[in-house]
Symmetry: C2
Subunit: 492 residues, 2 copies
């Protein structure tokens, strides 16, 4: 093996880091809590971004770009939002460095270049965007305003993990403005569906759609909808959120419109976002002890061809055949690489592409060619099969679709097996410690109980699933009456 | 007219701002020197970005993402680079806000949350990237390393202008590492050619390729190559730069590789970038007193269809025909919009799309339809023509190509007419004040003379053109001997 990976059983957390680093998705950087997204990881993110961007545009949204900085006076305008992010934001206070008189060749912050008003680096852009929308919205004819932005944001988290929680991360944030509450709620739900569609059908990760409890809501939202997915260690991961913001930001920034009855009303708002965190979800949902397993639809490389030969004559034969196959694969739109690097042995290459999670490997051996076959290995099940070169491209194409489906089905089985009802506190604690996953349990609906459960077990209410069946029961902790079960889990 | 524009003759600078704002490319923001890129402007930038991104990938580059922040100790490592950017950088000094005890509902910077080391917001990323490359490069087998990043950067400019000079702007920055000086120089030149290709063939703006004098060089570069274009007011605009960095950054960050002879050597570097500034160049190169004129290849909308009808029956006929034409245009890959908004009159729409620079307008009148024709107006020359509906899509497609060519030819004629030789100082000053454009004049090669000329006239040496003819002459200012003419201009 080219690179050692810690097994999941041994140390799940280290296994995750190994996959990210050795799979060349990302690297640590010199900046506390910030990562470098490496070319392979960025190509993956580009595929994810492009797929979502098309979905946003297909649902009528346009991209725009708003400033990185939020002046403090705007930042604090929506009080709950400000309170939610104040404790973890990067603040620009000066705009110039000067030569340090005491240290040769060193620079220091120039105390004379202090900003009159501090600038917060956006942790999210509601404030700067709603301040802008004020100038753009006058009448109902200006609505709905459906805008999305792809950008970097900064949240000064104390404990960071590659992709899952970094001080700076890349994301998209949609910010829409509507003339009615109903329309804004419909938009919030529509974007939740778009996220679920993307995560399930492109990333092959099953999700549960739900709504957050009040204490888990986005700071400044009336309702936060979310999609929750399950990782292999039984912990949940919030994969995307869509917020109905009511008129909170419109009121904070005084954004009104003249309705059809010629009356001034505050505008209704939504915001929704997913981030590079999804890459972390992908790694943890599908990877195994040999490395990454990437779903074909978003994999930077869908197939790799590894040649095996001895001597120039065999090489020429294999090269020629590889060229033919690549042409056929590319005609089907398959992203394929021919790794004819002479400096590495085939075994090393096998391990390398296994590590990188390339869905299909085609081994083109000089001797196999004599029989008109190639060996095809699929990354998800590790099955190998000799396949006739006639129609090999069509075979690979179908196999990619099958792998995509299998990854989803496998993750869904695992997820479904890990939604467990609990009816007593003992059961609840035991399930959390021994089985993990989502625990479906009654809750009395109070923030106090939610908090106590979190303190006792580190489990939080991940969501109240949409269309949740109503059923009488008693709260798992307090025994008070409850009308429905909610989903608890320990989470990333 | 729907919106008033200042004419170029009246106030060129105000004309530019009017086009940007009223053409809905961008808007001012609440943050000093930062702009909001509006959906129409961002769609234009996306088209530019995507075209260039493909060119970068076709020449073997991969995208990646590096941190927004540069710790001060890394920032100051390459001394000239640090010196060049120290006076205009945004500095993060704190990571938390707290409730202001003296002002209810207000926040203040928490003095206890001061960073141990200040973070500079990247004005350019050589420092953070070369610090990262140190860990990625060991042997000649790791080279060349060909990486590009699309991101935001911040330079705290005192005087800003929409797109042309903003505190935050979007750009791409390529950073490559090579095992030989020759290879790095070849990369620098290759990327200059890529930029010239893009700006000329997509933006329809002719450029002059050249090399900068020492005083105009990028801070930290051995040589800066550039493409220079000419605006309609006779001022030059630097549209892209490609730097040969020698071993400066490799030495500052101690990046060495083991060569084929098993000896350690410092790596050779390049960097190259273009930014949203190009949007400003586009506006100023092609616009007229009615608004923007966008080159078809990058225009968000290439054609717009405006219906004219009275009553429901005519509306139905026109709608049906429009649908047919749109289908035909889309089949040819043409980006088309049907503006059937009932709330605006056709005349208002004509002015609006003229303002927005949509290359082709198709007016679909109910009466014209009876004769099987539509009126086609081209934005560049404002010519109108009745065109048979049979084959109208093919006609529009050819017209778009013709407009693209005409815009380039027109800008090139203007540019070529504005490269004027000057042989005396009087002539030089007179040309600058009365004609503008590039002035081709002898220069004695010293930074002092360059500086004096700049002080006296505000003109700078834009570049020494590539393959510049060598000719004996005397410096325009000092009369000292000179071997070649260089291009002077006042510039943005």
């Amino acid at each position: 093996m080219s690179k050692e990976i810690t097994s999941r059983a041994q140390d799940y957390s280290q296994w995750y880091n190994d996959l990210v680093i050795k799979g060349e998705l990302a690297d640590y950087s010199a900046v506390r809590g910030c990562m470098v997204i490496k070319p392979y990881g960025f190509a993956l993110w580009e595929n994810m971004r492009d797929a979502m961007d098309k979905m946003f545009k297909d649902t009528g949204h346009q991209n725009a770009y708003f400033p990185l900085f939020v002046p403090k006076s705007l930042f604090e305008a929506e009080e709950k939002n400000a309170e939610g992010f104040a404790k973890e934001c990067a603040i620009v206070t000066h705009y110039r460095l000067k030569t340090d008189p005491d240290k040769k060749g060193k620079l220091m912050v120039d105390p004379e270049a202090k900003l009159e008003e501090e600038l917060i680096i956006r942790p999210t852009s509601e404030a700067i965007i709603w301040n802008t929308y004020k100038g753009w919205i006058q009448s109902y004819r200006d609505l709905p305003l459906l805008i999305n932005q792809w950008c970097n944001v900064v949240r000064w988290e104390m404990r960071t993990r590659l992709f899952l929680r970094t001080a700076e991360f890349l994301w998209q944030e949609g910010h829409t403005a509507h003339s009615t509450s109903e329309e804004a709620v419909a938009e919030t739900r529509q974007m939740l569906d778009v996220y679920a569609d993307f995560v399930e059908n492109w990333m092959a990760v099953p999700v549960i759609k739900g709504v957050k409890t009040e204490s888990e809501r986005f700071a400044g939202a009336v309702d936060t909808y979310c999609i929750e997915s399950l990782m292999q260690d039984g912990k949940a991961l919030q994969s995307g959120t869509s917020h109905f913001l009511g008129q909170n930001f419109a009121k904070a920034f005084d954004v009104k419109f003249l309705n059809k009855e010629n009356q001034l009303e505050h505008v209704w708002a939504t915001s929704w976002g997913v981030s590079t965190r999804l890459v972390g979800a992908l790694v943890m949902a599908h990877g195994d002890d040999q490395g990454l397993i990437l779903p074909p639809r978003i994999a930077p490389l869908q197939a790799v061809i590894v040649p095996i030969y001895k001597g120039d004559q065999q090489k020429a034969t294999v090269d020629a055949k590889a060229k033919e196959i690549i042409k056929q694969l590319k005609e089907l739109g398959i992203r394929v690489k021919y790794d004819n690097n002479d400096n590495a042995r085939p075994g090393w290459k096998f391990a390398e592409y296994e590590m990188k999670g390339v869905p299909v490997r085609i081994t083109l051996g000089a001797r196999d060619l004599e029989n008109n076959v190639a060996e095809i290995a699929r990354r998800d099940t590790k099955e190998k099969r000799n396949v006739s070169l006639d129609g090999i491209a069509a075979y690979v194409n179908e196999l990619l679709a099958e792998i995509q489906k299998n990854l989803f089905d496998r993750a869904k089985s695992f997820r479904d097996e890990h939604i467990t009802p609990a009816d007593t506190w003992n059961e609840f604690e035991k399930l959390l410690d021994e089985k993990g996953g989502f625990i479906s349990a009654h809750w009395d609906g109070t923030a106090e109980t939610e908090e106590t459960i979190k303190e006792k077990t580190k489990a939080t209410i991940r969501c109240i699933p949409l269309n949740n069946p109503q059923e009488d029961g008693k709260c798992i902790l307090t025994g008070k009456s409850s009308k429905q079960r909610v989903l608890f889990a320990r989470a990333y």
